[in-house]
């Protein structure tokens, strides 16, 4: 629920500074959190360039923020130790954007019970509710799934929950720190009047007959058909996995009914890029032959070629038979374009064909690698639940592996390992500032509704182990011998990650497991550039910034200097019956002073009026007497003259 008052709103593009004090990993995670805002809301972020107000993210003590735009110039947001989780950063930025916690809304008691005697003494005030004159729930229902909700253990004095949900199924849902909930997004988008986002382009699960405006090409040999099942497979779509009778559609190219080399081409509607790079993702099912393939093209339009230029981006071959498989394809398009899916019949006998479903297109970076874990449920809580990913290479050439530990009774752990690789002799050691981002994919058909669970770790070249080795040194030097399933020997460095990646309860929720498949998305990127200080505005910036204006203007008595139309101005502190005032908050006032002043003023006015009255009476009487005396004298003279 949001703070009431337009003055608390930020512009849609928020200026920010990442201060030097931040940990390297935190800097990378903050930038990833910004990407989530750009995908799902109309909020964007840009490096501060002298704007009057900006958010300064620094490593303070703890994780905290103010609520709303405070118009104080540099507004602090702390991402301290252990706060470098993407959803924690999303949470703090939601505060900065003007949101309070979910359970403080006025109708809270209809949905959760607060167990007051389980709350630490003196912390009860953290469970206050605020009426609808203070906060606005924006006409959105109470949200157990909000990233802004307390967890059930918040401020507990023992081990029992302090918050009990009225619907028991939500007990382990409250306090999720994965991603925005649907209602978080609805509220944020309502508060900021968002109608679109910067990076989302399209999502299609083929449930509607218009197939999202996709068109059949005329220059091919066959068409893609919208179906809900195919005898040779798939038995159901991927969106619903057959759970909804009468719905659940996908597009199918029947390669068994065409000749070798024949194609079926399906083109998306026209799309208009803003950033110049895109990530296409979709699920693909092969029931034809292992030789069937799917070609991904873009048809890009320009002033020179109004019919569009068709460019092959990727050939997808060796598509596994008999299951839905996720694919990512990176595009780099700057003009308006269409995405083109071209199914091709291979040279071997086909019994079915290719099917596609749950397409998403966004102007974001694709993950570098995908680790698909099949038949996943059997590993949860099992002694066999120690899983190593296949080896992967980062863009810089470092070889790595992921370890997923599912053996614990309640939590799943995840760890990043450097391993010996082919490029080791050409690489820098200890490995400097490579950030590994590990994401458990929520396989919701719509990318905007996914609440994927993500953690990042960064290789610090100065980090050492207990025996004095560099933690991220060459695995062939500091690692231990290990073997791939095919028997090949290699060396594996120590793992770095968390044993509390996600609880098993949450792992089983949403669409993390779909068709008994789980996907771990992996990106390892060089973030060395974040080690340097963010470029700040130069002194030639036309508008003076807050620090310039306030540098030589100090407010007294804890007053806060702000930039108001380029002039320094003090905001003075006050209490219930006292305040500071004056240009620099140098004068103190209080209610008592006011009473004294009012009483004194009244007395003074009364005295003054009394004096005026007395003087007036005195003068009037004196004048009257004089006049009376004068008149008597005249009369006497007149009488003398008459007689």
């Amino acid at each position: 629920n949001s703070i009431i008052g337009e003055k608390y709103r930020w512009p849609h593009t928020i200026p920010y500074v990442l201060e030097d004090s931040l940990e390297m990993n935190a800097k990378g995670v903050i930038l990833n959190a910004f990407e989530r805002y750009r995908l799902k809301t109309c909020i964007d972020f840009k490096p501060w360039n002298g704007e009057a107000n900006y958010i300064s993210v620094f490593k303070g003590s703890g994780c905290w923020s103010s609520v709303g735009n405070q118009h104080v110039g540099r507004q602090e947001l702390s991402i301290g130790a252990n706060c470098d989780r993407i959803a924690t950063i999303q949470h703090e930025f939601l505060h900065a954007l003007g949101f309070w916690h979910e359970q403080s809304r006025s109708d809270r008691d209809d949905y959760v019970s607060i167990i007051w005697d389980r709350i630490q003494l003196g912390r009860e005030h953290n469970f206050n509710t605020y009426d609808d004159q203070t906060s606005d729930s924006l006409n959105v229902p109470y949200d157990y799934t909000s990233v802004m909700h307390y967890s059930k253990t918040a401020f507990q004095n023992g081990t029992q929950p302090t918050i009990v949900t009225k619907i028991s199924d939500f007990m382990d849902v409250i306090g999720q720190r994965m991603d925005f909930s649907d209602y978080d997004l609805l509220k944020l988008n309502r508060l900021y009047n968002c109608s679109s986002s910067l990076t989302f382009m399209d999502s299609c699960n083929f449930e509607l007959e218009n197939v999202c405006g996709m068109i059949q090409s005329s220059g091919d040999n066959a068409d893609w058909k919208r179906l809900s099942q195919v005898p040779s497979g798939p038995e159901s779509d991927h969106s619903n996995m057959g759970q909804c009778k009468g719905s659940g559609f996908f597009m199918h190219f029947d390669s068994s009914s065409v000749n070798v080399g024949d194609t079926a081409v399906l083109e998306s509607r026209m799309l208009y890029p803003k950033r110049g790079f895109q990530c296409l993702q979709f699920y693909l099912y092969n029931s034809g032959s292992i030789n069937d393939q799917l070609n991904i093209y873009v048809r890009e339009y320009s002033a020179d070629n109004v019919n569009g230029t068709l460019t092959l981006v990727k050939e997808i071959k060796d598509i596994p038979i008999g299951s839905w498989q996720l694919y990512y394809v990176t595009l780099k398009v700057t003009n308006k374009f269409r995405v083109v899916f071209g199914g091709v019949r291979g040279g071997v006998t086909s019994l079915g064909g290719l099917s596609i479903d749950d397409i998403n297109l966004s102007e974001t970076q694709c993950p570098h690698h995908i680790w698909r874990i099949r038949n996943f449920t059997q590993f949860i809580g099992s002694p066999n639940g120690t899983l190593y990913s296949p080896p992967f290479y980062s863009s810089k050439g470092y070889a790595f592996q992921i370890f997923l530990n599912l053996t614990h009774l309640t939590n799943a752990g995840i760890y990043f390992h450097l391993i010996s690789g082919a490029n080791d002799d050409q690489l820098q050691w200890p490995c400097p500032w490579q950030q590994a981002t590990m994401t458990l994919l929520d396989q919701n058909p719509d990318i905007r509704q996914r609440m994927s669970n993500q953690r990042s770790v960064t290789t610090d070249p100065f980090m050492t182990t207990e025996n004095g080795d560099y933690f991220w040194d060459k695995p062939s030097k500091v690692g231990e011998v290990a073997f791939f399933p095919n028997g090949t020997e290699f060396r594996r460095g120590k793992g770095y990650g968390t044993s509390a990646f996600i609880t098993h309860a949450r792992l089983k929720s949403r669409d993390f497991i779909k068709g008994d498949d789980v996907y771990i998305l992996l990106t390892v990127e060089d973030i060395s550039h974040l080690n340097s200080t963010q470029l700040l505005p130069t002194p030639t910036t036309p508008k003076p910034n807050i620090s310039d204006v306030c540098t030589n203007f100090k407010c007294e008595n804890d007053g806060i200097c702000i930039d108001r139309d380029g002039k320094a101005e003090c905001r003075c502190p006050s209490g219930e019956d006292w305040w500071y005032m004056g240009e620099k908050c140098e004068k103190r006032g209080s209610t008592r002073d006011t009473i004294v002043i009012a009483a004194s003023s009244t007395a003074a006015v009364f005295a003054f009026m009394l004096i005026v009255t007395l003087v007036s009476v005195y003068c009037t009487r004196k004048r009257y007497r004089a006049k009376t005396s004068s008149n008597t004298a005249d009369m006497t003279l007149e009488n003398r003259h008459a007689f």
């Binding site: 003590s61 703890g62 120590k494 990650g497 509390a500 905001r571």
Partner: protein
């Protein structure tokens, strides 16, 4: 295995736990109020 290093000491600490361990007593656990809101 046993040689993996936990970035968070193996503790699944929420925002409020982190701040509490640091002895912070912020409004609702993680909100810094300015003086006008405090008032």
């Amino acid at each position: 295995k046993g040689q993996d290093t936990n970035v968070d000491g193996g503790l699944d600490q929420d925002i409020f736990d982190i701040n509490e361990d640091l002895g912070l007593d912020l409004f609702e656990g993680d909100i810094k109020l300015d003086w006008t809101q405090d008032r």
